[in-house]
Symmetry: C2
Subunit: 412 residues, 2 copies
């Protein structure tokens, strides 16, 4: 091969970036050969890296190991397939599904699965899913630019992030569990990602595809200070309180929202506010503050007794009991020119979630439908806040956000 300027650089860049340790190397001044000694375990990875650099050097391969084939995971597969030509042409990136798993089966392909119907391939040819084996195979394949994409709602899988990052594999996920557990685990992941020079990205933890976490990050690194965070962080609760009226009772709206699929199968999961609290916790932590869940004051929406109903059906039946209460609250707010919104709030070290009356000058007053919104009041955005709003849930926008994070694992 001709030693045009930058070619040798690209070889070393490629091997270095993929963590391949070169024991000895020699290149003749004839520029016709390069010899090197590397560890046997890195042989294939080095060969692939070099091959990719010299023969397909227009495309950077990104090898995805996707766990979870539910709404978000399968939509992500669709988007990757649909965007493959665009990403190859405009970003010189080639996304490959090197591993795919759901709770039943798993499948690997060093060259990347055929994307015409990967879920069917998984069902037909996958072997029994073994979590430890999936991780082990991902490590032993040792492919360049590996990314572990967790599209599950699992509590278990996030516990593996630390060891995955330690192996030099990036982690991208919409799963909130790792970031809303202990601060120690959250910050440990960030430190580990930095040490291993890989990425840990989770933009979709809050507001799905809305650029909320990256915006906070950019404010902080440029030296801005967050004075106040206000958020409508649940599409479900946003929908309920945007629609409360003398004609639409609380229980009626919850029932309707449930029938539209806007709520979890058991709407108590939304109404508990726990998911909102998790998101607020993550936003607070992203500002650089050490914070734990117990620091968030949760102003309960519903009586404890009601929430502890034996079944979803019993709960839905009993929900009518609170209609009068919510209508009174709504009327009282209306009489003072305000509207009730379920707001996550952080200000002066204090965090809370709960129902608040907002007046017509508040940026959240006009929100409609299932819209999410975050208003950031900072030292620089003080006279009026920086606001990001829009649909903050849904498989399509979530998968798009995950895809955006995947592309950020390589420097485009």
């Amino acid at each position: 091969m001709r030693n045009t300027p930058g070619i040798a650089g690209r070889v070393f860049h490629s091997l270095g970036k993929n963590g391949i340790n070169i024991t000895a190397i020699a290149q003749g001044s004839s520029e016709l050969n390069i010899s090197m000694v590397i560890n046997r375990k890195d042989e294939l990875k080095a060969l692939n890296s070099l091959h990719l650099n010299f023969f397909e050097f227009k495309n950077i391969p990104v090898n995805l190991f996707l766990a979870g084939t539910g709404n978000v995971g399968s939509e992500l597969l669709h988007q990757i397939k649909a965007q493959s030509d665009f990403l190859s042409k405009h970003l010189k990136v080639s996304l490959r599904i090197a591993g795919l798993a759901n709770s039943r089966k798993m499948l690997f392909s060093e060259k990347g699965l055929n994307l015409s119907d990967p879920l069917r391939t998984l069902g037909d040819t996958g072997r029994c899913y073994e979590p430890a084996e999936f991780l082990e195979k991902m490590r032993s394949l040792n492919l360049p630019n590996s990314v572990y994409v967790d599209c599950t709602a699992s509590d278990e899988i996030p516990r593996n992030y630390l060891s995955v990052l330690k192996s030099g594999i990036s982690v991208v996920t919409p799963n909130k569990r790792a970031n809303s557990g202990s601060f120690k685990y959250y910050s440990g992941l960030k430190v580990q990602a930095e040490k291993a020079a890989v990425k840990y990205l989770y933009e979709t933890n809050v507001g799905a595809g809305l650029p909320i976490i990256s915006t906070i990050r950019n404010l902080i690194i440029s030296g801005d200070e967050i004075i106040k965070i206000e958020g409508i962080l649940s599409g479900t609760l946003s929908y309920i309180f945007n629609n409360l009226s003398p004609l639409d009772t609380f229980s009626g709206i919850v029932n309707y929202a449930k029938s539209l699929g806007y709520t979890e199968p058991d709407p108590r999961e939304d109404l508990s506010g726990l998911d909102v609290a998790r998101k607020l916790l993550i936003l607070i932590r992203e500002t650089g503050i050490r914070f734990e869940m117990r620091g968030i004051r949760i102003n309960r929406l519903l009586p404890k007794k009601l929430m502890e109903s034996q079944s979803t059906d019993e709960f839905m039946d009993k929900l009518k009991e609170v209609d009068t209460y919510f209508e009174k609250m709504r009327k009282k707010a209306e009489d003072s020119g305000t509207i009730l919104k379920f707001i996550a709030r952080y200000e002066s070290g204090k965090a809370s979630i709960g129902l608040e009356p907002v007046s017509s000058v508040h940026p959240f007053y006009r929100l409609e439908g299932t819209t999410n919104a975050v208003a950031l009041t900072t030292r620089r955005y003080r006279s009026s806040p920086l606001i990001i709003s829009g649909p903050g849930a849904g498989a399509d926008v979530t998968a798009a956000g995950v895809l955006g994070d995947i592309l950020k694992t390589v420097n485009l």
Copy 2:
């Protein structure tokens, strides 16, 4: 040095990334020495890269060549100084001012200028500014991770971006000129940046520190399609129409805004809408559409004759003549439950800027002060748009956006 895993990789990564071509290299298996043959011109750069990697390897140096020491440039210098410890600790990045210039003087420092009072140092010890010499010196210094930061409002400087990118130097700028000229030049810059594996970033071209351009980019790469762009893209025009009332005449508000420094010294620059048109053009291009300025319909705010007044004073004097017209317009809008806003719009291939009545359900209805806003209706954000709003001007938020872009030139 000990050959711990990844160290050799880091050497090659570092040299490769900085475009240093290695003619021959030999590393003994004793792991105590590495010898290599490189081009003499790269000697210092290689030495620096390696030194930085092994002895200060916790920090990636980013060498800035800053042109322009006005509001934004000097605020950027402040922010870099103030954030230096944070960036070093949390991002392992060390920002250095390797070159500094304004229209009078220029100064270079391979190790980075002392940031205690760089403008004074420039004034006291800088030599006469010669544009060609500045570029030549920037190239010949050949420092790793070089970034040319154009904080001028110059028409001339953007003409150099192409050759700067070609030299393997990233370009970061709030200057809109290069992106609002011919589509050919705009797209040429993007292609060149990609070819040279450097960055061309300009988030602050629209909405200052608001994450508008990066959001459009993320939507596009994930395969979303932009159906409609609506924007309030001028803080000045936002302020004027947010304050129009029976008590506050058009000319009165323009005068007041001028006295607050919200307008250009000659307010006609704001009132012409040209700046808004430039921003709209950039947003349209960012969606991937080939578009030229002549494709934007500019609905004039003021009569041509008034705009052609001989002087700013004459213009300001005559401005009273249009007060009745704007009050009529305002009243008419009010009577139909709407408010006038100066909107940049792109929809179905058609682009326009001009005054539009917006109703109370429109996301721009409640905007106040000098707020900027962009509403993106896309295939995925269709039921309600993705909206980003907030103060869209000011040296502090603009410099913060520039700093964010600078940090994106290295993969953090």
